[in-house]
Amino acid sequence: MAEVDVIVVGSGPSAVNAAYPLVEAGLRVTMLDVGNRDTTYEETIPEGPFSELRRTDEQQHRYLLGESFEGIAFGHAGAGAQLTPPRQYVARDAERLLPIVSGSFFPLQSLAEGGLGGGWGAGSPQFCEADLDGFPIRLTDLQPHYEAVAARIGISGAHDDLVPFLGDLQAMQPAVAIDSNGESILRRYQKRRAAANQAGLFLGHPRLAMLSQPLRGRSPTRYWDMDFWSDAGKSIYRPRWTVDELRGFPGFRFVGRRLVQSFTETADGGVIVAARDLDSGRIEELRARAVVLAAGTLGTARIVLRSFQLYGRRIPLVCNPHTYVAMLNANSLGKDARDARHSMAQLCVVHAPDGAQRRFTVGHVYSYRSLLLFRLMKYSPLPFREGMEMLRLLSPSFSVLILQHEDRPSPDKYCALARAGDGGEDRLEVEYALSPSDRAQHDAVETAVLRGLLRLRCVTLRRLHEGNAASTHFAGTFPMSEAPARDDDLTTDKHGRLRRARNVYIADGSVFPSLPSKGLTFTMMANADRIGCHLRTVLRPGSR
């Protein structure tokens, strides 16, 4: 059996950023992934601004509604609400091959090349020192890797009021422009900044993995408002762009259609990975000096628990609770809305009554433009004709605030692997319940934020809790810790090495002991880069 230096499992944001420093150092790296891609829509979407395509493209229904009308689908949309037909490949096969049993947790999982990063919202705040409470690493450990990843993937943002909360980057590109709806809120905030800040409310540009300047063959955003539909120009970061770069290195090999089952360590220190070839059904074994697991928190949990035959063993799970708030922005009523805009978060809102030294709450404000009005009618108690007329008039002033709350482990949040009974796939059983005090705390924060936004003339229309897994920010299953290892210890050390193994590393959200009120993905990528950099010094002493 031929041996490579490192096998990386997965091709999502964490996998590609762990692989990069290894491959760059000349190590032989094989990436194993199912690697689903969009084979239906990419070629059918013409290049051009959304508003122009709406007026001219007779075939728009094919991608806006989907070839099988999957864009209209009735029922609970949940975490996939942002996944338009051209993005739905991201979740293809996951329910079948990664089954979950739960009455309380319905996560979106991915078996795509690029993972959930094929459809993510690109919100990329850094963690600050308060966010790393309980982690065995400090901000100084992460900062060089934030810089390395920012230079690799492109992060845009502003040096505004949010720097103490979102961090600072030398490699940061200038902020992308905010749309007219968001601008009007920001103007109002700037006029009332002192009062807002006194109430603990801060507003500014979001950090986005979206380009405002060219980078590595990718173009800055063209403000076509097509970001939910198409990746033309590649201004939003997708992990696929990094896979394409990695393919240019001689030591890198991408092997798709492989569902990794388990690993075993050999007496001589190597690791053997067993993967099912999804076309032939055969189990293949591959050997490496070390393995990096980055199959997404839930995917990695399956692989680790199966490898140690720990069926039924409960491990912790955390996930940011999300609240969606539909708002009407009275500042922009009666004003013309610009068509030129990008589709992602326009503003970032921070609620920090105790400043940046204590944990605080972060939300993002989106405008509602390119997702079409009929989707709003699904949730509206209005008749269609008048409803459509009202939405046409009011939707340019709609904002959707997505607030995320921090999450910490508790005995009521866990997952466990259950053996497949019928020759099918092992099932991950998940239980997730927030305590009454968590809920009360979330409610208090939401009320304070919405009161602050009301003072900025943003009127709450509706608050929605889309279910426990809606944020798709999963973490905490094999937390990094300083604690000394016990024999059966399912934790990782500060370099992401699984304590129960010698040469198995974990680079995804699994290693975060808790989640602050922020998207974890940029930090996960920085941490994956940190783990990759550490591993290359282990495997190739002398390399930095």
Binding site: S51, R54, R55, T56, D57, E58, Q60, H61, L64, L65, S68, F69, G71, I72, A73, F74, L333, G334, K335, D336, A337, R369, L372, L373, F374, M377, K378, P381, L382, P383, F384, R385, E386, G387, M388, E389, M390, L391, R392, L393, L394, S395, P396
Partner: protein, 138 residues
């Protein structure tokens, strides 16, 4: 479901939403969308509302308003949603479906007018859907 009946629905619902008959391609799209998305058999109450709407297209505005409020006839409303999605993704109707800018007085006037029309339609629609339900039962 019978595709002639679906074609009649497509015609009636499109005229209701955008005051224009649907081109053939839209009718076919509506039929296909129904085949894919709305596979459940309609409840007798739903079917009665849909039949009445197709037989008396002028009643659709009222039935839509009445059922929006009462929550009855969910299939009828799903069908209207399907037609709205189809109309919204058709360039010929973009002038009737895309977001529009309006001055504050214009906005207030239009919203006021829509609200007034809606109030009348809700009252008439609730009465009409009750009458349809009674006729079906008795």
């Amino acid at each position: 479901m019978d595709s002639d009946a679906l074609r009649r629905e497509a015609d009636a619902f499109c005229r209701y939403l955008v005051d224009a008959p649907p081109p053939d391609a839209l009718i076919e799209r509506y039929v296909r969308a129904n085949d894919v998305l709305l596979t459940e058999a309609p409840s007798p109450g739903d079917q009665a509302v849909i039949d009445f709407a197709c037989a008396h297209p002028r009643s659709i505005a009222m039935l839509d308003a009445g059922t929006a409020l009462s929550g009855k006839a969910p299939l009828f409303r799903k069908k209207l949603l399907v037609m709205m999605a189809i109309v919204e993704t058709t360039p010929a109707f973009v002038g009737q479906t895309e977001p529009r800018n309006a001055s504050l007085p214009g906005l207030a006037a239009r919203l006021g007018l829509s609200a007034a029309r809606m109030a009348v339609n809700v009252a008439a629609g609730l009465a009409l859907s009750t009458a349809i339900a009674r006729r079906r039962r008795g």
